[in-house]
Structure formats: C-alpha cells, structure tokens
C-alpha cells in the first residue's frame, strides 16, 4: 500500500510544480503577480474556483460525516453550493467592477479608512489560517494513516510545493495548477467511488441513519445532526462563501463584470458535478468502514472493500486526489492572504508579497504543529462562520447601501467577528455557553448586520465623499462607464482613489 500511496502523492506534487512552472508568467508588474493578468476564460477560472473550494473538507470530511452521522449531513454540500448563488446575485459583478484586489482593499476604497483596512486584514488572516490548518492537518492524516510515516512529512510536502508555486508566479501559475487539479480530483474521486460501488457487487442494503436527532456539535456547529444544527451550518456556508479571501481574488482573473459572473455560473455547474462524491462515499463508508474518524473513512474505503492489489491501487489514486485537493486550497488561500497582508503592511511589491506568503505559511505550520488533528469540516466551518459575520455584511451593505460608514463597518467587524471568535475559543477551552456554543452563525450574523447599520445611521457625517461615483463604478456596466470614473486596473494601480 505504501508504495502505491507514495507514488500517487509524488505524482500530484510533481504535477503541481510542473504545471506551475510550465507557464512562466510575465510577472513584471505587481498586478500580474496578484491576478494572472486577467487572461483566463470563465470555464477555466470556474474550474480553479471550484478546485479551491473543494478542499479537504469537501473531499474527505463531508463524506466521512455522512457515513458516521447519517442523513442530516447530506445538506452540507447543498449549503456550500448555495453560497455561490448568493455571490452571483449580490456580489460578483459590482465587486469586480470596483477594481479592488482584496477584501481589505475593498473596505478601504469604499469607506476611505486605512485603519479599517488593517482591521479587515486581521480577519482575512484568521479565516485564511483556519483553512490552511485544516488542509495541513488533513495532509498529515493521509500520510500517517496510509503509509505510517510521521504526519509532519505531509505538512512539509504540501507547504513546500505551494510555497514554490506561489513564489514562482503568484496567482497566474496558481490558476493553471488549480484548474488542472480540479479535473484530476473529479476524475479520481468519482472514478474510484464508482469502481468501488460497481465491484462491491451487492448494493449496500443498510442505509445510514435517517432523520434529525440530538447530537454533539464540534466547532461552529459542525456535525450536529439536529435540524437547528444543520440550519446553522447552512447559514454559515451560504453567507460565508462570499467572504473567503481566496475566492474573491479570483474574480480579477476575468476581464470584466460579465466574465466574473460567467465564472461563478461555471463554478456552480462544476460543483454540481462534484456533489455526487460525498453521498457516494458516505453510503459505501457507512457499510464497509466502521470505527474510523470522519476524515479517514474515504481513505480507508478501497482497502477495506478490496484487500489486495486492486485496493492498494485505488487507495494510491485516492491519496493523489486528496493531495490535489490540499494543494489547490492551500495555494489559493496562501496567495490571497499573502497579497492582502503584504498590501496592508507595506507598499505592494513582489518582495513584500513573498515575505508575507512565507510568514503566513510559517504561522500555519506552527499552528498545525501545536494543535491536535481536528476534523477538517469543523475548521473550515470556523472560517466560514467568521467570514459570514464580518465580510458578508461589509460586502452586501457596501455594495447596495450608500450610507455605510467606516465606523459602522468597524463596529460590525468587532461585534460579529468578536462574538464568533469568543464562541469558538470558549468551546475549545471547554467553557459551557449553552445553545450559543452550538449555533454561532445565527447569533453573530444578525448582530454584525445590526451593528453596521445602526452605527452607520448615527455617524452620517462619516459617509465617504464621492459615494455616488463609487456606486456608479460598481453598478454600471463597463461600456457605460464614464471614462474618468472607470479605471481599469493597471500595474501598480492601487485601489484607493
């Protein structure tokens, strides 16, 4: 088994480096380095977005939860995909037209406050770290479970490849790596799943437990099979997706608002293709694998069903697919967070970007080393809940409501983000907070919206000047733009007016 698994992992790692290096970007300017120079067609960009989004949680975690906790977990992938409907309807075209590269950039441009930008960067960093730690832990689990080697080898492999690709060419090379990895992932996971199903001969007769029931939740309400628990997770997914730093930065790889919209529609279609994976593995895992942690069930499945050479080969393929998932998400998050952090601290530049990427990755590795392996779905949900309580209100109100002020946005960030972080930290520390612990999103999201609206209404003097011009730039199609209002993003062009 070890040989097959290591071959699969090595193949994906080498493929990642080769595809990343084979398309050397003309990364002459800062803008190229961040955003792939906007030469990517929508379906290619859609594959990259999907690849970043179908992380360890989608490939391994959700299927494991379906197998262990039953039917209610079937709604998790539905909620995750619903997030893109919200993005398409409310956010994507105006945000692309605003011409800002990152979420903190948007906050500063729209509300005219450099301090708000730094505050927003803190939350980008937190959300990014939650995603990175989830991927690194999952990589450790794959290596430990399938080869018996120490888990840090898995962390180091993922970290080294993503660092090399990110340093070599920024988002341009990451886009091509990810689009390739999405198709690899889809073929591997669907192929192995269907092969297992077909070769098992007998249809699985015992379905997982249906129906909602009481249960214990992990972080941020994940894995809670009661109806309120499921709805909490659906809310966090539907609203949190728009605030993920690595998804928003992808919109700039399209030429204009139309292209960005089409990329999201392509993403939606590809996610629908991928949605067969969790129920398939959940069903098979429930029948054939018992007594394993949620993230391990998918990986153990082929060997348990077909001991021998076939099982080993299928396990090697699955390990390759899983590493493609880790590399995809880690690369996207790393570039997006590194870009946001470097632009907030210093003047944007290639050297600052590289330093920031290295620092963020180091922080993620340290966090992974000092924490015990957690379920990937729980960690990803912490990031989604935090994003739903901070960037979702900022984006929705900033795009559609003229009277939002920097003070209001800061208050919403402090309250929404503060409530979420407090609940998660208390749950980690074992402090009992009753129902709050299980359902952070339904509390934090309304609180954040209320704080942003309330404080904005009492600080009308701080509505930024030129808000009408900003609204025109975000909402009018490019061909109707006043040439002086519309600034196509040029190399070195920073978003603040």
């Amino acid at each position: 088994m070890t040989v097959a698994v290591l071959t699969g992992i090595a193949f994906v790692l080498v493929l990642g480096v080769m595809v990343g290096a084979a398309r050397p970007r003309r990364s002459s300017g800062v803008s190229d380095f961040y955003v792939a120079a906007r030469t990517v067609p929508p379906w290619w960009n859609g594959a990259a977005i999907t690849s970043e989004f179908t992380s360890a949680a989608a490939c391994l975690g959700t299927a494991g939860l379906i197998a262990t906790r039953g039917g209610p977990m079937l709604w998790y992938p539905v909620g995750a995909a619903a997030g893109f409907v919200v993005i398409l309807a409310l956010v994507v075209a105006p945000l692309r037209r605003s011409g800002t590269y990152t979420l903190p950039d948007f906050a500063e441009w729209r509300l005219g406050s450099a301090r708000l930008r730094q505050f927003a960067t803190c939350f980008v960093l937190l959300i990014g770290l939650a995603f990175l730690v989830a991927q690194l832990h999952a990589a450790g689990i794959v290596v430990r479970l399938l080869t018996g080697l120490p888990p840090w080898l898995g962390w180091a492999a993922v970290a080294a490849v993503t660092l090399a690709v990110a340093l070599a060419g920024g988002l341009g090379s990451v886009t091509s790596v990810q689009a390739v990895q999405f198709w690899l992932k889809l073929v591997v996971f669907l192929g192995v799943g269907v092969a297992c199903w077909w070769m098992s001969g007998t249809r699985p007769v015992s379905w997982f437990e249906e129906g909602y029931r009481g249960g214990t939740a992990e972080l941020a309400g994940s894995g809670d099979p009661s109806l309120p628990g499921v709805l909490t997770v659906l809310l966090a997914c539907a609203l949190g997706t728009m605030g993920l730093p690595h998804l928003i930065v992808r919109l700039y790889t399209n030429r204009d608002g139309h292209g960005a919209r089409r990329s999201i529609v392509a993403t939606q279609a590809m996610l629908a293709l991928f949605c067969f994976v969790p129920p398939l593995y959940g069903l098979l895992g429930h029948v054939h694998v018992s007594g394993a942690a949620a993230d391990e069930i998918v990986l153990l499945l082929p060997a348990r069903m077909h001991p021998g050479l076939v099982g080993e080969l299928l396990t090697g393929l699955l390990a390759a697919g899983a590493f493609a998932a880790f590399l995809g998400t880690t690369g996207g998050v790393l570039v997006a967070v590194g870009g946001a952090v470097s632009a907030s601290l210093t003047r944007a530049g290639v050297r600052a970007f590289r330093t920031a990427v290295g620092a963020v990755l180091l922080a993620a590795l340290v966090l992974t080393a000092v924490t015990s392996p957690r379920a990937s779905v729980a960690l990803v949900l912490v990031g989604l809940s935090l994003s739903a309580a901070t960037f979702c209100p900022l984006l929705v109100l900033g795009i559609w409501w003229r009277r939002l002020t920097a003070a209001g946005a800061a208050a919403g960030f402090a309250l929404g983000g503060g409530v979420t972080v407090t609940i998660v930290v208390c749950a980690e520390a074992g402090v009992k907070m009753g129902a709050l612990t299980s359902y952070p999103a339904p509390v934090a999201v309304p609180v954040a919206f209320a704080a942003m609206i309330g404080i904005s209404l009492v600080t009308p003097g701080r509505v930024p000047r030129g808000v009408g011009r900003m609204m025109a730039r975000m909402h009018l199609p490019e061909r109707l733009q006043n040439p002086r209002t519309y600034r196509p993003s040029l190399p070195g062009d920073r978003s603040s007016p």
């Binding site: 409907v85 398409l88 109806l227 659906l234 559609w400 009408g468 040439p483």
Partner: protein
C-alpha cells in the same frame, strides 16, 4: 476643474450614460434606477435560494427515507445551477 469638464457636453444626456461627475457626490438618476432593478432581481434570486435552502431540509422531516434525502440533495444542486443561469441571463438583460 474646468478643463476636466470639457468632455462632458459631447455625451448625449438622454442616452442612459453615467452622469456621475468626478468629485461630486451626486450621480445621475440612472445609477439609482440600475441599482434598484438589479437589487430587485438579486433579492428574487436570493429569496428563492433561501426558501429552498431552509425549506428542503425542513420538508425532509416528513420524508424519513434516506434514498429520498440523497435524491433531494442532488436535485437541489441542479436547481442551484438553473437558478444561477437564470439570474445570469436576467442580470445581463437588465444591463443592455
């Protein structure tokens, strides 16, 4: 400032172009109208999505067959794709 306004009179006022002038807080009424139309469409889409997202898991309470749950969860994914395509077409038509 005077020099920057030279280009403005050449644009026909009634053609629905942006009348936002740099430096002024007011924009033309058409930006508000565009925003209102787009927001109405966006809220329709988000409303339909929210209704399904909450409605389907709740309705599933009364259908305790796991096979039906699997089919429902995949069906909703297809509905998302349809909803996205519909919204794309409507939003692009509103911008014409």
């Amino acid at each position: 400032m005077t020099a920057r306004r030279v280009g403005l009179p050449r644009r026909p006022a009634a053609s629905g172009r942006a009348r936002a002038r740099p430096g002024s807080a007011e924009d033309g009424p058409d930006v508000r109208a565009v925003m209102r139309r787009q927001l109405r469409q966006a809220l329709l889409t988000v409303g339909a999505m929210a209704g399904l997202l909450v409605g389907v898991p709740v309705v599933a309470l009364w259908v305790p067959a796991p096979g039906v749950w699997v089919a429902l969860s995949m069906g909703v994914q297809c509905v998302w794709v349809g909803l996205a395509v519909l919204h794309l077409r409507r939003a692009e038509r509103l911008e014409r």
